[in-house]
Symmetry: C2
Subunit: 153 residues, 2 copies
DNA sequence: CTAGGATCTAGAGTCGGCTGTAGGTCAACC
DNA sequence: GGTTGACCTACAGCCGACTCTAGATCCTAG
């Protein structure tokens, strides 16, 4: 229980967030931090536990495809303090919709990929332990011409 | 039933694939087509129905995050003809794994986002018709310090 | 016959998100 | 007291995937 509120160097934060020191300076430059990063002797950055927690939120939002400018907007709102909860909520909901849509799109793509994987599996091992009833990518059962020939691709 | 096997101009293909004419030329330049795109009088590109079908596959693979170099690799394999099914299968399986992982990651992120959305919804309308039993992002129920304070972000 | 629009090639520019480099400061160790 | 090693600023460079521009060619319609 020694260094609980000690303050961390940029290197330490890089290590425990997985971001590079470059990225950390870049994020700061881009105004992504809610509180200005403190400086220690010699002008070195000193990160608080809160900074690190905020960063982990940033990382998750980034990982889900939120662009930096949106993240900055969110940081701006949080920095402003209470009274803009509606705006924060809107921003988050918008992002939620994006992520949900993206998951949907990926899932659709996965159908095609699975279908193709199935085709090649059967091709390579027709004594199929993999013999499902049907390989067709279920959703697009429309008037698309038979996928018989797309075996060649 | 007039233009079934007619051959399409680059503009027509752009229109029906959603790709730009620029992107179509770029894709060709990058070797993403299985068959060289035919040329009509005056050196103009003439796309076949097969080309368009291949493009739609490309679009789906791209939309699921496959980088162009992998797409080119796949096109190379298909162009080579039969006999490399294992390699095609490997490539597809690898991509399938990426997409699956990405969906997983996005779904995790969505948990946090939903949690935060829930927090702000409650904050704005505490007479909650949205009063779920609990907002906590289910998976990470570890020793993380209480999310009480992250209400501020 | 000429004007407009679609196309062509080749190459430059853009954008997001970092990453790398140059040149300098500072504290600690041998 | 000299050498690491971590850090600092400022800015250039990179990567992927297009997108735009310039200048030429070609087809069709009026």
């Amino acid at each position: 229980m020694a260094e609980v509120t000690t303050g961390l160097s940029i290197g330490q934060v890089a290590e425990r967030t997985g971001l590079s020191v470059h990225a950390l300076r870049f994020y700061e430059h881009e105004g992504l931090f809610v509180n200005p990063v403190r400086r220690g002797p010699g002008g070195r950055r000193v990160y608080s536990q809160d900074d690190v927690e905020w960063l982990t939120v940033c990382i998750i939002l980034r990982a889900s495809g939120m662009p930096l400018h949106a993240l900055r907007r969110y940081a701006d709102l949080v920095r402003e303090g209470a009274g803009n909860a509606e705006e924060r909520l809107m921003l988050l909901r918008e992002h939620q919709a994006h992520v949900t849509a993206q998951i949907g799109r990926l899932t659709e793509c996965l159908d095609l990929i699975r279908f193709k994987v199935g085709v090649y599996e059967d091709l390579l091992d027709p004594g199929s332990p993999t013999a499902r009833q049907c390989h067709a990518p279920s959703p697009s059962a429309d008037k698309e011409q038979a996928p018989t020939k797309s075996i060649s691709s």
